[in-house]
Every structure is written in C-alpha cells, then in structure tokens.
Amino acid sequence: MLYREAGQFKTSYQADQAAFPIFQDQLAVWAILAVAFIGVPLVGNDFFLNSIMIPFLIFALASVGLNILTGYAGQLSLGTGAFMGVGAYACYKLTTIFPDVNIVIMIVASGFFSAGIGMIFGLPSLRIKGFYLVVTTLAAQFFLEWCFIRIAWLYNYNPSGAIEVPQREAFGVILTGASATPVTRYLLVLSIVVVMTWIAFNIIRGRIGRSWMMIRDMDIAAELMGVKPLNAKLSAFAVSSFYCGVAGAMMVFFWLGAAEVESFDVNHSFLILFMVILGGLGSIKGAFMGAAFIWILPILIRAAPGWIGIEVQAATVEHLNFMLIGGLIIFFLIIEPHGLARLWSIGKQKLRVWPFPY
C-alpha cells in the first residue's frame, strides 16, 4: 500500500543489487538514521540513552555477530558471552597498556583478539556439526569464563576481580569513564554500530557471505562448488567473534563502566541467541528487531505496573519477566519460526502487493 514501485527500474546491476533497491525503503532508512543521529540525542533523556538505546545498540551488534555465525553460516554457538568477554578484556588490557591511543581504535582492535579466539574454537566445526558444535562453543564459554577469573593479569590484578573503565578522551571530549555524557557515548556506539552493520551487510551479500550461506544450506553442494569448508567456517567464526568482541568491549566501555565475569556468562550467550532467533536467523534487520524486542520489552514490563498504578514486588516482576520472555519465544517460534524479520518481510510483501493477498 505504501509501496509504489511502478516506475522504479534498474539500468545497472549495481542499482539492482543495491542494499535497498526500493525507493521507499531508502527513504525509510535515511529517516531512521536521521532520527537515530539527530532526533534521539536531542530528545532522549539519560535514562533513555543509558538504559535503552546504548544497550540495545550493543546487543544488536552482538546479535549481528552471532547471526553471521548462526544465521548465515549455520553454525550454532553458545559462546557469544565469552567472545564478548574476550573483546572487553582485550580492550581493557590494550587501553591500560597504551593509554594514549584513541579508545575507539582500541575497541575495534580488541575485536581482532576475539576473532582469533573465535577461530580457535571454531576449528572443531570442520569435523562436527549441529548440536555437537554447541558443546564446543559451550566449552569455549566455560573455559574462557574460567580464564577471566583465574588469569588475574587480565584484570590487572584488581582485588575485586573486575575491570574498571578508565577515563579516556579524544579531541577534548571525554569518551569513557564516569564523566562521559550519555549523549557522547550513545553517538559513539551508534556510529560504530552503523558502520559495522553496513560492513556486515556488504560482506554478506558478497562472495564471502555467499560461501557462508552455501555451507549453511547444503555443505556438500557448497564444497562441490569449490567452497573450502575450512575457509568458510573459520571466516564466519572470525567475523562473528570480531563483532561480538567489539560489542563486548563497547558494553563495558560505553555502557557498564565496569564488569566482571558475570557480565559474560552463559546467560548472556542465551540472551544474544534469543535475540537472533526471535529476530530471525539470517537477517541483519532481524538482529536489530530481536535485540529491541528482548531488551526493551522487559523494561516496559518492569515499568508497566508503575504506569497503571499497581505496586508489584520487583522480584515478582522479574519472575513474570522470565515467564513472559520464555512464553513469547515459544509463541513466536510457533507462529513464525523465522522470526520477526520474516514477519516484517511478510508484512512488507503484503504492503507491496496491496490490495491483493499475493
């Protein structure tokens, strides 16, 4: 209905394969970016930025990362939390060793560390598949958690066992630490997320992304088309872990301010996996939708009793929250196993063919 595609024709392959070939979609994307970069910082209060937008974006990036591995390359992983941890600890070490280097560079650099670790734990994927691989990634998860506790060097022998974010500035603006304003942190996170999402999208629609999907859809056929499973799977692990690592570093540096091992436990892995599944495997858009759903819905649930004037114990709300999320996951998987992204594209298709049903 909103789509009026008549008269939109492509005269080059570049235009035909553009990220958003439909004009109306391009408009929407620019509108969303404008709101995110201009509208939100202008209107949003600290709570909104700190508790909703920043974590949402960070989790969305981690979901993009996991989606690359699970949704595009078809390798199930429960080690996301730990890979995020690798990024966070790496960034912490980097910035304490090189305090003068711009923190944004360090955050990106820390991604390489988790990419490396991810590749190591991705090696078994060459031999094993499916649920068996889950065990491998769980091994990574628990082993890395153990490292975060036992290797005191990682947290600079801090007696509390936590990493605390030091203050870092660039061009006279405080970027991290307690005095960094939410708006600054938000814009930083947003910029990194936007750029990295764009890159992820590019990789996915190119040769490498295709090799991932080939492996996912039919690994035997992929190999017979000349795709080396080693390259495809390890590159997926590397890229995915890179994204998770950057997300983890941002989580600590731009959101939590301090973190210990609990911030990267297996529950986090589950959280991100939920975001990916609920959002839709194999969809970048879905990663954002899933992150928004899983992160923002509980906040709303927590706030809801207050709005309608009912006093409910915080613990009870928390329990209800768990039930609701669990229930919703089941519900969504039953009505649409391909997640919110599929619902979205069905809706979009409906709008495109409106008023016809197909």
């Binding site: 068996y132 329990h319 669990g326 996951i329």
Partner: protein, 318 residues
C-alpha cells in the same frame, strides 16, 4: 621441565601414594557421574523419540524437585507429595505436547531446540514465582532415603561412602533397568523405539506421534524428578542446578545422543574424569577446572569420534 613433571609424573605419583584418596575421589566422581548420567538420560529419551534436543531437561530437574519440596511444605505427606509431583510432571508433559510441540511438527531442529530454551525460561520464571528463588532443602528423610555414612578401611586409609550416594547409585541403576524393560518389552516402548527410526512405522503400531511425545516427556519428567531428589539431597534444591545440568551435554557427546547405555557410561566417565583432573591437575591451573573440563574432554573426543561412543557411524549421502 618442572611443568612437564607436574603434568605427567607428579599426579600419578600422588595417586599411587594415596590409593585410598584416589578411591575416594573416584567414588565422588562416580556419584556425580551418576547424576550427570541421569540428566543425560532425560535428554536421550526425548531426543531418541522426537529428535528434539531438550534444553529444558535441567530446569525440569529443578522444577520437579521444587514441586516435591513445595508440596510437602504445604503439609502434604512426603509419599503423597511424591505421587502428586509425578502427576504434575505428567501434566507438564501433556501441556508441552499440546501447547508447544504439536504446532512445531516438521520444523528444523534448531527451532525445536530454541523452543526448549524458551520453555526453560518460562519454567524458571514460573518456578521462582511459585516457589520463590531461594534454595530449599530436599525432604530426604521424609522420603525414607538413607542418611549417614559408612567408613571403609582400605589401602591404609579410609574411604567414606555416604549412604545417600549409594542409594542414588542403586536407584539410578533400577531406573535404567526399568527403562530398558520399558523400551524392550512393552508395546509402547517398542513404538517409541520405532518412532526413532521411522515415523510411519510408529503410526502403524497404532500410537499417534502426539501420544508418543507426551509419553517420552513424561518419562523424562520422572527421570528429572528422580535426579532432582538425588541431587537435592546431596546439595540444595536451587536454580543454580540448571547450569550444572548443562554438563549433561558433554556426557551426551561421549555417549551419543541416542544411546541409553552411552548416557550412563558417558556420565560416569565425565564425572570421574573431571574429579580426577580437578584434584590432581587442577592445582596447576589455579583450580576451578571442573567448570570446563568436561567440555574439553567431549571436544577432544568429538574430533576423533564424532558419532559418540555408542552412536552409529554416519555415512553421508548425496
């Protein structure tokens, strides 16, 4: 050199010099291995019959135990509470089949897997809402389980066997035997086995797929209840158990996803292996290696025998 010595020589010297201690360690490992095996058994039951990788098995253990304790706390006699708890597990099985599984026929494995994670979350929230989040004590004595311990003198030292542990081992053995009989001797059991191979064949036995699912979930529920009682008696009944239950995964890898004996043997290997490693090698790494050792064993194992100890070799076809 010192490191190599610490890894390859020293632990064995320690073992040999303290055989009683070694025996004690092995026994402890055996006991926790039994529990791993029981949880793995729950997984295997469901996976075998429906191909669903039931992540919720861990929370079912907690939930079953909490139900039992909670019912007893209401003043219901232990025995009656036990029967009621069994009934509730049956109800859970039927509900899961009706509300969830029935709508997800022919969906990819990963979706079913995710659904069980959703179920896990739901049960966590539900359990905490109903029973509260605090750890509870298992009603060990009320159920007539033995307490206390026996001390044996062996190898110039002592080995302590908790009666409860012995009971756990015995009950587990009985349960495995019972399941074996159920699968091999009863009509439903045979149907369950058939369904693992061929859905059509199962239908020809005259049992609907839906019934079969409900039955295996119920069976898994009973296994969970047993596991919960045993584990609860050893420590407390708490939600932390849920994470420990993930240990069943490496057990499954070792044993194979569809093999009941595999689950038992795998459980024992993991249980004893990780105890040994923790005690004799853990110190080298600063301790706490129990958290991941099982997975690493599984991982190494996987690289050499991806189909597990008892699984069949997979020939890929195109």
């Amino acid at each position: 050199m010192g490191l190599l010595f610490d890894i390859f020589i020293n632990p064995f010297v320690e073992m040999a010099s303290g055989l009683d201690f070694l025996l004690q360690v092995l026994w402890e490992g055996f006991v926790s291995g039994t529990l791993y095996a029981l949880i793995a058994l729950g997984f295997v039951l469901i996976f075998k019959a429906s191909g669903v990788f039931n992540f919720a098995q861990g929370i079912m253990v907690v939930f079953a135990a909490l139900t039992l304790v909670g019912l007893h706390a209401l003043g219901i006699p232990a025995f009656l509470a036990l029967i009621l708890a069994v009934a509730i597990m049956a109800l859970l099985a039927v509900t899961v089949e009706r509300v969830v599984l029935r709508h997800l026929v022919n969906q990819p494995d990963i979706i079913l897997f995710m659904v069980t994670i959703g179920l896990t979350y739901f049960l966590i929230g539900f359990g905490e809402l109903v029973f509260g989040g605090d750890p509870k004590s298992m009603i060990t004595e009320e159920l007539g389980l033995p307490t206390g311990s026996t001390v044996f003198d062996v190898f110039d030292g002592i080995v302590i066997l908790q009666h409860l542990d012995v009971a756990a081992a015995v009950i587990s053995a009985i349960m495995v035997a019972g399941l074996a009989v159920f699968f091999n001797k009863t009509r439903i059991g045979r149907a369950l086995r058939a369904v693992a191979d061929d859905h059509q064949a199962a239908l020809s036995v005259g049992i609907s797929l839906n019934q079969i699912w409900a039955i295996v979930w119920f069976a898994a529920g009973i296994v969970a209840l047993t596991t919960g009682i045993m584990w609860g008696a050893k420590s407390d009944v708490s939600f932390a158990l849920q994470i420990v239950a993930l240990k069943a995964l490496p057990v499954l890898i070792l044993g194979g996803f569809t093999s009941i004996p595999g689950a038992i043997v795998g459980g024992l290997i993991i249980g004893m292996g990780e105890k040994l490693f923790e005690v004799y090698w853990g110190g080298l790494l600063g301790g706490g290696v129990e958290g991941w050792f099982a997975y690493v064993i599984a991982l190494i194992f996987l690289l050499f025998r991806p189909q597990g100890l008892f699984g069949e070799k997979i020939i890929e076809r195109v």
